[in-house]
Symmetry: D2
Subunit: 330 residues, 4 copies
């Protein structure tokens, strides 16, 4: 675990691609219920953003036979940083190659993490410019707050499963320069259940959590930010009234202190509506570690997360989870 | 000021009719921005309700040459109570007569208050039954929470101007049985600037405030309830983004401790979005009085309400307000 | 189930006495953590109130060998109403007799409900008058908001267990004049699991829930009001930080739509911190009923309440709960 | 205005020293009302922190003849960054010299900005370690949330007055590497009224605003963060109940979208309680500019800030403000 505080080449999470076997219903979920905007459509994909996302798009929905995560895009801090990362990732044997960039982004270097999730890094980004009727009275807001549904403001983070958490955590630290924020370590610190990391002040923009079924390339959840805890509570009403399955929350995590609500979008992917948490600005932040005895139920206020929270991910796969009596931990 | 604690004939505010010279825009304001539902339409009127209103309708919008308040309907506590009130109001010389009732209500006795506002009292009320697709997962909620716009829950109260506040306050106490909750009394208690009253535990469902221009039958504001202060803050964003004039708030009144936001709907009527406040359950509640020296600025946290708050009402009329240096007081 | 809408003799819940085997710690819980004020002390009892309670006291803590509920006091709507209730309760064979009244209340008629809980009704009530240093800048608030701990505003309601729910529900309707608001009815409506009732616009001030262990005179919970859902969330932090056991919440009930947080005060009694819910003003309110198939998990947003919620009450007693597979229902 | 996106030597605001002529009362304000903790005391100074501040101290109160700002400390991103900044500041003629560091910090390089405010940069920082009784159940929180008063979480930012805004803004950009986030530019962009900047994702940690009286080294306000808008509203109650002057808010700024409450601590300094706002993670963020015609009243929801907001700063000085009809702008 080599500290890489001086590496400052990744600025922030850019965009997440979700695969969905229920494209129209997934679009209804993100547009009508969560209040995101559709900025581009093709035959098999839709590009969306939250009202406060400054980039042209932060979520791509792609029609697919089953749910899961497609490409995760990270923005570099400069053109030079992009080149540096491309070289380093190529040298590490993780490179896939350059593309001209998906909608809203320029030339991108595509790669995969050790677990097989596809990612890319880019510099050029199209900023969203609202049509006149959609301009906000606030010049620092890229578009009007619409008041439609939940009204998620922006993409926040994602959590991926990995068969080998230490390997993927090390990749994110050393090759992407992410700072390690929190960890769940079991069995006297010898088993790394999960690690939460970030390239900026947001508590975590990427988490790797143990894939207890030994799968690869799977998604635990994608998380969207709302400004207030009351928005999370309101979201629970909206999802309930529209028959969306709520898996957990609203409640407060130990880890990150985030105020969360987990539901499954109609395509099957777990989506979090998220607020609260805290910022980390210390260059020498000491990772906070939790073991199986410390508030192992995972939920700050005392309850436990449901079993599905540790056993279900997308794509869903057969197999017995290697976790006979693991408490549910996030 | 005769106490009438034993009179328990009026249950609650039933419906308020607002007159608007901008019918379509007013409908946009209440339906699209405030999130109310339209339950009935005629050529010149629309009947609306909040998602939590159990009655078929609580707001009637009527196309008219200018803004103002039409008929204010109160529900009786029983059929006998309706008859008792009809007799008493008739005997007091305020009766107009019986009608078959407007949409959603049975036989109604129409009357006017001393200032000339038209009111009616009724017993039979049609309860709202949502069509299947609009039923809430909560059996105790008359319809789904839609998540559209502000999402006002229900009608709460209204404030009327009156040239003679004591006369109208006495009418509400003695003929309607309302309990006096708070008063603003100037000049050593000799000038009654405003009185806040209610037939139930809600802090006030009717206020009479001095018409400083000497008009008659005018409306100060109609108030709609939201469950959380955060909803009021969110409403301020939605109204701002849609170019609606915000006159005051979000802030907290001294009087009633209500958390308020005042805007003018496109027809010109002042509408309040309201939360907080407190319930009064004491049968022998002692009215709280405020004079011009006690936090006379009116706003709890220290600011002052704008001049328009005391000078503008609907219909707007010519004339110098008889209040050269009255602080703005609610 | 005879409707008694015309009976209007009880105004509101006055005070609840909690018995505690851990007097000092219970006092710490209510004063330091919940932010209530102590207005009177004796060797074995403390009288408390929330900052918004207008009465001299609304909670009495009494040192006792074990936890449970002592006397529940109800305020009459008038001196005549008090006399009427005393006669009716005496005639019903439930009378215990007149007392001079506990601290802050005048002459009181003591009785018991069919299940054996001790209650009393009174008219004369001492209003709280704050010492000068504790006066609020808001004349309609009986004392300053202190900002200490949770800051509960006022007593809201209580839930009692009863071996025979229909008998006790009927008593509250017919002898106290409470309106039935909601019910949980199992087995095609033949088994009354719980009934929620109120003498005023508050959704419920008294609930009777089946005592599945066949006990008598037991308490399910006592509930204290806060103005905002955020206060409930904040309370969860405060209780967690102070090692108080949180049994359930913060979350939203189906029944009453209340936003709740249940913890056990150090004496063992279940205490709810409560907000939201909705007011009922209809004189002809139709009780909402729920069966075992309708959102039987009880919690609006999808989760289930813990088993203890149905099995634990104070005083705790031996015995197998007669509810092999009852979902937890409130 | 040379962009300096690659300069990444300052991590975050470390600590602000406030001078107060009412030391004990200022301490009461920050400790009792705002809920900060005192970690160190000397005869003439107190070192405080919010419950969520990871550093040993973030606010120093120093007894002084009059109010104002003392030393503003910034943390470097590394030991090397500290050396680089020391050299650059020295070369720019702004250096004062090295010190051994104030309480909780190691060797510090002291300097002044062009307007004369004293600042320092440091690397070594003592992390706060709570005594056992004050440890939080959350391992990622440096101490228990106490529930005392407002409960401010951490230091957020400060705003300084400067006679020459462009010079000081350029200093912060070029010598500290801060990114320019928003500006108020009057007279066709020729008069820079204010500039908001940050070294990290927080919208702004330093603002320079025109000193309309031509003073030097003055403070506009120091700002403390709370997690929720509801905490700001609750703070307004607490300050009102304790007789603290509230100058403006709670309301929402255009600039930064921050939800604010301004009061004067007993020593005379303006203190903001702050939440909301938004994060900036774009390396190429384009500064948002506002002119005198764009929502010039300054407050998002429509009202205007009071005149004092632009005319009062600490230390207060004589002189006519050079702003006959400037709208109040933040």
């Amino acid at each position: 675990m080599t500290p890489t505080a001086s590496l400052h080449d990744i600025a922030h999470l850019g965009s997440v691609e979700l695969l969905t076997p229920a494209f129209d219903r997934s679009l209804w979920y993100f547009h009508d219920l969560l209040g995101m905007e559709v900025v581009q459509r093709t035959a098999t994909a839709a590009y969306l953003r939250g009202y406060g996302d400054h980039a042209a798009t932060t979520l791509k929905l792609t029609a697919a036979p089953g749910p899961g995560v497609g490409c995760v895009a990270w923005r570099a801090t400069s053109p030079e940083a992009l080149e540096r990362r491309a070289v380093a990732l190529q040298e590490a044997g993780l490179g896939i190659g350059w593309t001209n960039g998906d909608f809203g982004r320029g030339r991108s270097f595509r790669f995969h993490d050790p677990d097989g999730h596809v990612m890319e890094v880019y510099w050029e980004e199209q900023r969203y410019v609202a049509p006149p009727a959609q301009r906000s009275t606030l010049k620092n807001l890229p578009q009007k707050y619409s008041g439609r549904g939940v009204g998620v403001r922006r993409a926040d983070h994602l959590a991926l499963l990995a068969a080998d958490v230490p390997a993927n955590r090390g990749f994110a630290q050393n090759l992407l320069g992410f700072q390690l924020r929190e960890q769940v370590l079991y069995q006297n610190g010898t088993r790394e259940i999960g690690s939460w990391m970030s390239p900026n002040a947001i508590h975590h923009q990427l988490a790797y959590v143990a894939d207890l079924k030994g799968g690869h390339g799977r998604l635990h959840h994608f998380s969207l930010w709302v400004d207030n805890r009351d928005d999370v509570l309101r979201a629970a009403d909206i999802l309930s009234e529209n028959g969306v399955f709520i898996e957990a929350g609203p409640a407060k995590h130990n880890n990150s202190q985030g105020f969360y609500l987990y539901s499954y979008e109609p395509g099957g992917n777990r989506v979090e509506i998220y607020s609260g948490s805290f910022l980390v600005m210390a260059p020498d932040w000491q990772p906070v570690t939790w073991n199986e005895h410390e508030r192992g139920t995972g939920v700050y206020w005392g309850g436990a997360l449901p079993e599905s929270f540790i056993r279900y991910a997308t794509p869903d796969i057969e197999g017995e989870a290697d976790a006979p009596r693991l408490p549910v931990f996030f």
